[in-house]
Symmetry: C2
Subunit: 314 residues, 2 copies
């Protein structure tokens, strides 16, 4: 077996084992101890962060976390990785920030000048825009960890009615529109609620958990079921069609007629009414609501509120 191949095997072996003696490697790979010492010197020269402790109970220790075998990327693949990293730029807090930094640095430094320029220019032409960078989410990592390790948490949470204490089991976290959300089982209310991670003031304590809950994927798909079905019937002008087509929850429901106008006539969940009412408020004349009466009531009530707040006195 060639020296290069053997060095690689040893590299992977020791970076997984972290602490070992020359004798162990000698036995494992059937090479003399003298050669082991020589190999370790080679690995050290190649940049592997490894140090030795002298004396009885001594040995070698590898500092870096487990290494992968060397990977040959093409330049285009490297660019695509930078592109993916760029999509994360607008999140203020991320669970893998330090790793992204170091991976980024390793890749960038092995690019040729020309490719470096290409990567630098990338953000002059393409970017991902998310707002809300200013909101800190310091507990993101802790919450994610609790979810992965299947733990329950007692948290201080800043809700509508002030800061309260909650006993929850996190299902997972997801990012949307620059903010981090956490669906979690609330032990007091005995159901899964949605929390904003940035509104968690502090984690009081965490405890082991034995019960099994749905995972994030299942929770997402369960959200698409209609719990309180209700018929939504709306007539849309051309502009109404155009705007509804850009609305995530409605785009598939819009039926377009030959003249460009259209309508929605579908069953949706009652809980969505509060979510879509601002859209129909904005659309005004461009959307004529036929059903449900509840949606019309919401719009009318809010319109009355506005008019009562700002009476016509000019």
């Amino acid at each position: 077996m060639s020296k290069a191949k053997r060095l690689l095997d040893i590299l992977l072996f020791v970076s997984a084992k972290k602490k070992f003696t020359a004798q162990e490697i000698s036995d494992e790979f059937n090479i003399s101890i003298r050669t082991v010492h020589r190999y370790i010197l080679d690995l050290s020269d190649m940049g592997l962060p490894i140090y030795a402790e002298q004396g009885r109970n001594g040995g070698y220790t590898v500092l870096s976390s487990r290494l992968l075998p060397p990977i040959l990327f093409t330049e285009d693949e490297a660019v695509s990785i930078f592109f993916a990293f760029q999509s994360l730029h607008y999140y203020r807090d991320l669970p893998f920030n330090t790793e992204i930094q170091s991976a980024s640095h390793k890749l960038y430094s092995s690019l040729q000048e020309e490719a470096k320029r290409k990567v630098d220019q990338l953000q002059s032409y393409i970017t991902f825009w998310n707002p809300k960078r200013a909101i800190e989410t310091p507990l993101l990592k802790d919450v994610l960890e609790a979810a992965i390790e299947n733990k329950n948490l007692h948290i201080h949470y800043e809700s509508k009615s002030g800061t309260t204490t909650k006993h929850i089991h996190p299902i997972g976290v997801y990012a949307h529109d620059g903010l981090w959300y956490m669906p979690a089982f609330d032990f007091t209310k005995q159901k899964i609620l949605l929390f904003r991670v940035d509104r968690i003031v502090s984690i009081i304590e965490s405890e082991e958990n034995k019960e099994v809950f749905v995972n994030l994927k299942e929770w997402f798909s369960s959200n698409y079921e209609n719990k309180q079905p209700i018929r939504l019937h709306v007539l849309l002008s051309r502009e109404g069609v155009r705007q509804c087509k850009s609305e995530p929850n409605l785009e598939d429901l819009v039926v377009i007629k030959e003249d460009g106008t259209g309508y929605i006539n579908a069953i949706i969940d009652k809980g969505e009414l509060n979510f879509i009412s601002p859209l129909f408020y904005r659309l005004g004349m461009h959307a004529q609501i036929v059903e449900p009466k509840e949606l019309v009531d919401i719009l009318r009530q809010q319109a009355k509120d506005i008019l009562s707040m700002y009476p016509e006195n000019d």
Copy 2:
């Protein structure tokens, strides 16, 4: 110089040069032609896609695009790259899709079983959620290319008033909320407008361009300048504070008082009024607008429209 190092040098040299003869390598690195043949056999065995053409004018050709020197990633760094790729999952169209696929595959196959499981489980606990996957953006790559290559385009565009033809110079593209946007200089209107890439029906023709326009970064920052400054003064309840804090454009302007209520008193751009009016409509009693009168007028007008559409007859 060790064989491994020399092989690497040759690998990088030939992957950049793509087509070469054994004689060239022999001259470049001062080794015998026989050895060059031996080295190329080695590289080929190592997986480099290289083929030979016999006879006069023959030579070797490397198929893959330019390679980077082998990179040693830690397992955590690899996970962070998968994490970044995951953030792109909810975009239906991406400019680097094939490269992301192949980079992903290279990384994944070099992970150990345990790490593979970790990556697989990642999306059970953390995900990025963007809506609107259903909207196709087939011309994304073409538009991005035109921006990078500094070209002008004639396009068919689906706007409010139907499909029209536009003569533009793309500044760049950016993703927001699952959709791709393109700021571009409109030669007819002589100013930069914002287009939705999915609403570009077709590209009629592209032409070289000599003029210099702002780049995407500059355009973004120029958008923060107030062109028509106007004072926004709003009194907020506790709930009003909470909701405004989640609003990208307002969060920095909110001042919180000791009792938890707050206010906004700042200069904003008049153009933003249409953008923020739905928020204050939604907030209703939780936000008392003091200034500007224009905002109150917008709210009142829309409220009247709603009430006239749905007269109280029950």
